[in-house]
């Protein structure tokens, strides 16, 4: 147990430590970084990305991948904006958010059924449905705006209750979405580490054939992973739409699926599955957002952030490979020593 806890947490501590170092560097070198306003914004953006990564962490820990979350964000944004403006815009915000979660979950369910029942590969399935969902979003937006061609103008929303989802809470500088994200991350951590569903997710991510032979319902666990991934993408979409006070069908082009995967990888969730939990996704999202935000405070070309993100993803993966090798070596040594002692 000791070894497990330590290796599991070392990875988190390393990322979290790097985040702290980055924040220190940015606060010392840029005047406009360390203040309530900017921190509120940073954690707003991190929460949005974090919600997507949180959902993805279930698919990825289960050894899968979901490239459709960007598409889900896009189509759900349009759907929730329509829903939120129904009946003279009197729909409560909570209900709208719930609607978005259900929509996202339904899209995730489609992915899950295609992967586990029709037996298509995850990569191709979610690549295709991602494009499909974005397309649906664009079509719906076009119908809303009629004559448009090419440019999709965001449709404004006038529903106070719904828009309050995208605002700060009380007098603090912290957005509602940040609180929701932290609370849900904690809840999902419990689900992942303490429930049978979580245990089975690790099992299929680590060795799905063995898991199946042990009586784990691999198809159900996989499908549920996609549903969770979609549901969180849907929630993220609602929160973002409320924050922007408008739904934009161009959200599908923003590459959220890759940013989400990047956040997971940087946080320490292995692409091959079987490793990591929602806390890793959380740290990863803060890490990436800190860099994006911090770099803006310097007067350098904004495109540099892409280059730096790429480098960080490679570095994180390289670190994990090396880290894995070192811990494996230590374990071997320990087990040999143990055997000799016996």
């Amino acid at each position: 147990m000791k070894l497990r806890i330590s290796t599991r947490n070392v990875r988190k501590l390393v990322s979290a430590g790097l985040v702290v170092v980055l924040m220190l560097v940015f606060s010392l070198s840029a005047d406009s970084f360390w203040n309530w306003r900017n921190m509120g914004n940073l954690f707003h953006d991190a929460a949005f990305l974090g919600l997507i990564a949180l959902g993805l962490s279930f698919v990825m820990t289960g050894g899968g991948i979901d490239l459709s979350v960007g598409g889900i964000v896009c189509v759900t944004a349009i759907l929730v904006s329509r829903f939120g403006t129904l009946g003279g815009s009197s729909v409560p915000g909570v209900l709208a958010a719930l609607f978005a979660v259900l929509c996202g979950g339904a899209f995730g369910l489609i992915n899950g059924v295609l992967v586990t029942r029709v037996r298509l590969t995850e990569f191709v399935t979610t690549l295709a449905t991602g494009i499909l969902y974005s397309g649906l979003g664009l079509l719906l937006a076009y119908r809303d705006n009629g004559k448009l061609s090419g440019v999709i103008v965001p449709k404004g929303i006038q529903n106070e209750s719904f828009l309050s989802l995208g605002e700060k809470v009380g007098g603090t500088g912290v957005f509602l979405v940040t609180y929701i994200w932290i609370a849900l991350s904690a809840a999902m951590y419990f689900v992942m580490r303490r429930t049978n569903f979580g245990l089975h997710t690790y099992a299929i991510g680590s060795h799905s054939r063995s898991a199946g032979m042990s009586g784990v319902n691999v198809r159900r666990i996989k499908t549920l992973g996609f549903v969770i991934s979609g549901a969180f993408a849907g929630l993220a979409s609602a929160m973002l739409t409320a924050n922007m006070t408008a739904a934009s069908a161009s959200l599908g082009n923003n590459g959220y699926e890759f940013q989400g995967i990047a956040a997971c990888v940087v946080g320490g969730i292995a692409l091959g599955g079987g490793k990591g939990d929602p806390v890793n996704a959380m740290i990863g999202a803060i890490f990436l957002q800190t860099i994006l935000n911090g770099l803006l405070k310097f007067n350098i070309q904004a495109y540099w952030s892409y280059v730096i993100q790429g480098v960080i993803i490679i570095a994180a993966t390289a670190f994990d490979t090396l880290f894995g090798r070192v811990t494996h070596m230590l374990r071997e040594r320990r087990s040999i020593a143990g055997r000799e002692a016996v």
């Binding site: 147990m1 060795h207 032979m213 042990s214 009586g215 087990s335």
Partner: protein
């Protein structure tokens, strides 16, 4: 829904689990089969097989490849359906049609390829799919308690919280056994459990098996290793050609008796090659070759014109030896030279230098199932069939057609998909790929596994012909007949080194079999 398994009941005081005890039944009949017959495509593979395993005994099952050991086990565990006969547990006839029936009957198999999840702990693995707890929240403390109780009961030394990934093979098998016992297995079947274990690890497994026996569990133990069987088993059933040849008590387990029973009467083959020409200039020399823990120090010379057989059990390092020579594995030490020059570590260069390699598992490493027969044959000869990397279509077709004709590959259609060929023809395709190049060094790893008798004879003929032209042939084989009748010289491996060399009349099947399990013929009895 996942299949519901019998969950161990809890004692009224809410403490540890009930575990069924078998000690009091020791010596009573546990599993009995009577008159089991099985045919595949009209070939009888099991004939009137009677097995009898008792509580609290380790019952070994031995026999050559193809003797029917795996088939009878698959019938007992419900993988195959028997054509005739009865299976009885505790004296009651039972119908076992699938793995669930087997589990319900208390039969559990520890497969060579383990069924554990590396990322989870020992306890999590044991209860995977049947976790205790409420509302989907894993009952960790109950899980721990029950696993600890199980571990204590059998006196195993293993940490329930250790991650399986960090365990050695013998400990993983221990987990696998615990998993079986957690569902109240009374008969544990082990199929070659030591093939991937080191000596020390094997010893730990034997201790585990001893503990199980003391607790009254019955163990059916399949093995090729005599010394192991002698060390462990209370009784031994020997099979040959689908029949039970005899049942021996522990004291009757004498190497000579067992090998004679396994092989039957030895027939000397009149067609064996006598007097072959050695081509001294065509020489491959291996000196002090090492590969991890599998090859410790292997040295030999092979000459053109000679068929060199490599014997030994699975896991003795045979496959690694030929792969290291060919360049498919990177050796950790030692030298390989061909005609005095070092052999490259690049497969491509070795092929151009005249090497060829027929791997053990043709479906994984040899064949391209989706490609045509023609492409499968020409794939290793692009150097001869292309100019500046552009294939000469005509030459490629002629090359393929000639090989199909020479090696009698059916159907005679170079466009035919290799996946649809019979096993024998697939092997001819893989062999033909190399034979067509007339390699100077041909490495064969189990060239006739899954190949019927008729095709076998043809393959031997091609290999002999190649040898008579001056090529070096190195043939790894588990088939004793093949080794003693086709090879001119046999090197038997055991524990990563050459254990014994045989030539001429000394190369009997019994001698090779004994050497493979680490015993010299003349001291066979004395050693154990």
């Amino acid at each position: 829904m996942r299949p519901t398994l019998k969950k161990p009941e809890r004692t009224p005081d809410g403490g540890a689990e009930r575990t069924v005890t078998f000690e009091d039944r020791a010596g009573k009949s546990l599993l009995r089969t009577e008159g089991v017959y099985k045919q595949f495509n009209g070939v009888t593979v099991l004939r009137d097989v009677a097995l009898d395993v008792r509580y609290g005994e380790v019952h070994a099952l031995m026999g050559e490849n193809g003797a029917g050991k795996s088939t009878i086990i698959k019938i007992i565990t419900g993988v195959y359906e028997k054509d005739a006969g009865r299976i009885m547990i505790d004296g009651e006839p039972v119908e076992i049609n699938d793995s669930h029936d087997a589990r319900r009957a208390g039969i559990s198999v520890i497969y060579q390829e383990l069924s554990l999840v590396p990322a989870l702990t020992v306890a999590e693995n044991i209860f995977l799919g049947q976790e205790p707890g409420r509302y989907g929240v894993t009952g960790r403390s109950e899980m721990r308690e029950r696993v600890s109780a199980l571990i204590d009961r059998y006196g195993f030394r293993i940490d329930p919280d250790a991650v399986v990934d960090s365990l050695g093979m013998s400990q993983r098998q221990m987990v696998e056994i615990l998993k079986a016992l957690s569902t109240d297995a009374k008969l544990v079947i082990m199929d070659e459990p030591t093939s991937s274990l080191s000596t020390a690890e094997s010893e730990r497994l034997f201790e585990t098996i001893d503990l199980l026996r003391q607790k009254g569990v019955g163990i059916l133990y399949v093995s090729h290793r005599l010394e192991e069987v002698y060390r462990l088993s209370d009784r031994l059933t020997v099979m040959r050609g689908g029949e039970v040849v005899g049942v021996l008590d522990h004291d009757e387990i004498v190497p000579k008796t067992v090998t004679t029973m396994m092989i039957g009467r030895e027939i000397r083959d009149a067609n064996a090659r006598r007097g072959y020409k050695i081509y001294e200039d065509n020489v491959l020399e291996v000196s002090h070759l090492r590969y991890g823990k599998l090859l410790r120090d292997v040295s030999f010379k092979a000459y053109g014109g000679e068929i060199l057989g490599i014997g030994g059990l699975v896991g003795s390092g045979r496959t690694e030896l030929v792969k290291c020579i060919y360049g498919a594995l990177r050796r950790s030490g030692g030298d390989v030279t061909y005609r005095g020059a070092p052999v490259s570590k690049s497969i491509g260069r070795n092929i151009r230098a005249g090497f060829g390699f027929v791997p053990e598992d043709r479906r994984v490493e040899g064949l391209f199932p989706a490609l045509s027969i023609g492409r499968n044959i020409t794939v290793a000869s692009h150097d001869k069939l292309s100019r500046v990397s552009v294939m000469n279509k005509g030459a490629e077709q002629r090359w393929a057609e000639e090989a199909i004709k020479n090696y009698d590959i059916r159907p005679r259609d170079r466009g035919y998909r290799a996946a649809n060929l019979s096993g024998g023809n697939q092997q001819k395709v893989v062999l033909g790929r190399w034979l067509a190049r007339e390699p100077d060094v041909l490495l064969l790893d189990e060239p006739t596994v899954g190949v019927d008798v008729g095709v076998r004879a043809e393959l031997y003929e091609y290999v002999r012909f190649l040898a008579s032209r001056g090529s070096i042939i190195i043939m790894v084989s588990s088939d004793l007949f093949e080794l003693t009748h086709i090879a001119d010289r046999i090197l038997v491996m055991h524990g990563g080194v050459f254990f014994e060399e045989f030539t001429g009349a000394a190369a009997t099947q019994a001698a090779v079999l004994l050497a493979a399990s680490g015993q010299h013929t003349d001291e066979g009895v004395a050693l154990i």
